[in-house]
């Protein structure tokens, strides 16, 4: 193996060379992590890899994706090493077509169609109306409907696309609370996705676009409160 040059400029993970000294290698992070040992890895080893210039090896490994970015290691670290930030950065450095699972595909779908699963506007509005009718007529919530794009509503509610896609009745939990509270609320007809997979895929640019959409809804509909039940 060739000698590695360790410096801030060459480190893809933007880890300062001082990290090698800052980290005590005490293993507190590894001791508290439930996936320590998987693939022979643990957070302490991941930090050592970054500190020693093995950036690409870490980026190419499965570990940043098996790690759930829960942040327990970072909280416990006596030296304040930003392990969570490093892991997410490692995810972001993975080539986009090599991001495991559907999360990058979801990001692309959301950018193009307004939600991770590509549910069309008409289907979404029909589903909301259909479920609302069940509550109104059969479930003891007379007068209930789902206010869509209602200007001036107090609460703007985002939706997790898995619910309209596969667990539509679960949307009624919030709706039942709103009915009982006589809340003034609304759902956007488009770009209503509440799940920001850019957070998980390490894609800051897309993440910002999704957050921007929600801000745009709040401004356009003049809503005072955001309810993002994720």
């Amino acid at each position: 193996m060739e000698a590695l040059a360790i410096n801030r400029k060459e480190s893809k993970l933007r880890v300062a060379p001082e990290w090698a000294d800052v980290c005590f290698t005490c293993g507190t992070c590894a001791g508290g992590c439930p996936v320590t040992g998987v693939d022979g890895m643990d957070p302490r080893k991941a930090v050592r890899m970054a500190a020693l210039g093995l950036d690409q090896e870490l980026v190419d490994s499965r570990f940043p994706w098996i790690c759930t970015l829960c942040g327990r290691c970072e909280y416990a670290c006596p030296q304040g090493v930003e392990i969570l930030k490093m892991m997410r950065k490692a995810r972001g450095l993975r080539e986009r077509d090599k991001v495991p699972g559907p999360i990058h595909k979801g990001v692309v779908m959301d950018l193009e169609r307004g939600n991770n699963l590509g549910i069309p506007r008409d289907d979404f509005l029909f589903l909301l109306a259909d479920l609302a009718k069940e509550m109104d007529e059969d479930e003891g919530f007379p007068g209930f409907y789902v206010p869509v794009d209602k200007k001036g509503a107090n609460i703007l509610l985002t939706v997790n696309s898995k619910e309209p896609f596969g667990e539509p009745d679960d949307m009624k939990f919030w709706w039942r609370i709103f009915y009982a509270a006589k809340e003034d609320w609304t759902v956007p007809s488009e770009n209503w996705e509440g799940v920001n997979w850019g957070l998980f895929s390490g894609d800051d640019e897309s993440m910002k676009i999704f957050v921007g959409r929600i801000v745009e809804h709040l401004e356009r509909l003049e809503c005072k409160t955001l309810l993002l039940p994720e």
Binding site: V35, V38, L69, C70, Y145
Partner: protein, 150 residues
Amino acid sequence: MHDPCNYGRKGFKTFGHGYFEEPRWITQQCCENYVEMYPAKMNNFCCGAGGGAWAMPYEQERIFYGRVKAKQIKDTGAKMVVAPCHNCRDQIMKSLDKEYGLGVEVKYLWELVADSLIVEPWSEEEIKAANKLRDAQYERDDVDLDQEWG
């Protein structure tokens, strides 16, 4: 009560406030016998499906990860776990419960609230007003519930 990383630990780090007490207060209004998991709050263990892991192709690793949470849940002896996060709820309800034979009911925090409500139907006037708004909205959005779909 399962503390989701994003509402608790990461909320604290990012915004200076971890939502630990709020869900506990709500849960205790709905349930008589509340039991804590240990450790909890800032030192809480992840359910094992955070960071998109629920959607990742590393299923065995996700279940292995969740063994710690599963044991925490089992040790409480509780019949129900409140999970105020979509990821955590799916992992505990659809995976850990089965894989580790927990036999617990799992609810979203807002599901627990919805299920605890005694709902008073709206008055005639309120219903009429809502129907009017609904009809105008369906007209605007071209929503016709009587049309044949597909």
